[in-house]
Amino acid sequence: MAALGVFAFGGRCGQSPVCSCQGNSVERKIYIPLNKTAPCVRLLNATHQIGCQSSISGDTGVIHVVEKEEDLNWVLADGPHPPYMILLDGNLFNRRVMLQLKGTSRVSGLAVAIAKPSPPQGFSPGLKCPNDGFGVYSKDYGPQFAHCNNTVWNPLGSGLSYEDFDFPIFLLEDANETQVIKQCYQDHNVPRDGSGPEYPLCAMQLFSHMHAVTSTVTCMRRSSLQSTFSINPEVIDLLSQYSIPLSACAFLTPPVHALQIDSHSFFWNIAPGAESAVSSFVTHLAAAEALHKASDVHLLQRNIMFTFFQGETFDYIGSSRMVYDMEKDKFPLRLDNIHSFVEMNQVALRNASVLWMHTDPVSRLNKSVEVQVRILLDILSNSSVGANVTLQEAGYSQPLPPSSFQRFLRARHIPGVVLTDHRTAFQNRYYQSMYDTPENIQMQYPEGLSPEETLEYVTDTAKSLAEVATVVARALYRLAGGANNTSAIQADPKTVSRMLYGFLIKMNNSWFQSIIKPDIKGILGDVPQHYVAVSSPVNTTYLVQYVLANLTGTVVNLTKEECLNPEKTPSSEKELYEYAWVQGSLEPNSTARVPYCVRSTVRLSKALSPAFELRQWGSTEYSTWTESRWKEIRARIFLVASKELEIITLVVGIAILIFSLLTTYFINAKADVLFSIPRDPGAVAY
């Protein structure tokens, strides 16, 4: 027995820095898998497909590292071994470079190394005019404001996320893996002495084959055909989630307070969304907590409904669904019953502590709406007295920024205000990108803190968001008819800080662990991100639901059995309240937890676009975004040999085969010549 591959395995594995122990030993000698990557996947809407696609058996190319623009010439023209797989520096990941790469056949794929620190000039792969065409402004309503004629909200937007690429694009999240690739490139692919590099060359293979094509219409048609005949698995998934409406009590004319909780970046499941989503929903949660603590909140004339919409990034999935449900009487509340609407968008980057109030100038032309909007604005301005927040009106010349409120306005002229930290263009220079991280909202922690200390540390960002939450909570109190002094209503910066830490830095912290149900504790532990995704509910939805329940609910003295089956308890009022049995915090010096029952009015409401309910795949009225399905997504690097070596191997093999066949034939034919008959008796002849 020969120890061919086995010995080499014993000696080699420990030497490589990214040795991963999967696959047999020969595979480990050939490939280095890249584990910390995020792919760009295909998304479809009614008319287009966006995103990236690889061939069914992956795309392979010789690696070329592009760190400055001149390096592109090698890929586009000079290099002798196309197609190339480009390792692109994050600072060069812009529209100009990408369109150059899109137009050539010499590129078989792209791996982007995330730029650290974030590009100083800003980076946004979203559109310049987000959710254009699905908001309230159109040629029939405020045409001077439609299609960002008046204000371009996201001037840094390159629209890269909405382009269609026919090669795979991956994001390399781990700097160590990027270094391994660059080292392989340095060892094998760099041209020496002016001539091209020699084989073997370092190459990369990316697998991200997407099953869906063309548009949602085509895809749903194919899926329904296939599932009718049970031929193939489905090719497409609808983007859907649960939105969370919370009502303080019964449903009488509540003011609605709403915002979005999802985000997106170019890459799948990478959506930190610090400024675009997290800052606003954290402030929202803090305002809910502050209001809940007010003593007479149960005696208010009107009820306040706090809503968190999912899927707003993709043409307002959540809010359009809620409006649809309200119109069709499937929601406990009707549109007529909404007194006013306050929305918060992107509030973390206030300039000189100014918070802007945006209103819709077109609906304000109506006298009665104007009066109510005026009252709303005055209440808000009065609530900011004494706080370090200056509220200013954006004015009649400005339309509403992209916001969930626009969907409500489409249905009814409700008086409403959208609060943001920007007057015209976004302050957020990394809108809907992978760089919209805690650093973008200036969250800084001192060095050397343990995770528990970091959880409790109150950052300046948290204090500033807490002030905004205080103002909003006081305004909501007044709007709901509260007459007392509002100085007692204060948002707690500690809570804000803990939420920011949990939603942006580390989900698996002691506070989150104590407020969730025991059977879903698996949702804590990944790097936080807020992409809407297809399997619902996502981690973000669950967490927001439980945080809200914790902040606005009450602890009730029920046992686990009673809590899990509230209909058996006579006074539980199951129709009004939700009961949750949560883990509780750890007992001191022990690994056991003290669970308890929380009663709250938090509910989930399905946020599937009405287009899918109505089966109008080509709808221009509602969002039709879908995500393609795929089988496997992975990336790996290896060496490729020259074609000459391969052909030589084949020729040698064929030669040996033919030679051995001929030789054996002749030896067999002449066996009597070669082998003499032995003389001893009893032996047998051949």
Partner: protein
Amino acid sequence: MTLAVFFGCTFIAFGPALGLFVFTIARDPLRIIILIAGAFFWLVSLLLSSLIWFIAVKASDPRDEPLQKGLLIFGVMFSVLLQEAFRFLYYKLLRKAIEGLVALSEDGCSPISIQQMAYVAGVGFGLMSGAFSMINLLADTLGPGTVGIHGDSQLYFLTSAFMTMVLIFLHTFWGILFFHGCEHRRWWEITAVVVMHLAVSGSTFCNPLYVGSLVPSYLLMATAAAWAYLLSGGSAQNLWRFLLCLRSGPSPQPGS
């Protein structure tokens, strides 16, 4: 490394064995049975030896590299000894089979001699050994990459294929030598086979210094080939006559 390398390596490793099978074994069903049974015996010996090695590895510390290397060497040597033991067992079985075949035949002669059985058993052992050495490598040759990113030699697949070819030949010749030694009670022939087997397996630990493993193996194969040829009734004269006949074309001879 794609299809070219896959077929190239397959032909290099199994081409000669295919020739042997097609021209000398395939026509006779009895020989096919002996071939497959021989392959099975080799398989069982590998199973047992790998069980021992596996237990030893699991019982030891995986991070201790010299210990793991030592265990591997021990595993290989133990496997060689176990294979030869199973070759002996197979010899015993075939001996019994010949008695049965003689009893069943019409003219009191066995349709197949022990020397032929030795040869076929050797090919059986060799084929199964080659398959286990080579199949998982061949599967990896179909991918786009070649060995080398961690610094190993690019010629890994080629040298593995050549090693497999020489091993198949060696097993064939060892079969002939071993059975001859058992038949005529020449223990030194059996010992020589075992020593040669240990030497070839041990030489593979020189890899990736392929010169250290391939060259001695081919030399040993030449030696074993010559020895087996002589034991099977060949001689230098016969060889000379064969080559001369070939050069001057096939002369009319009584059929074999």
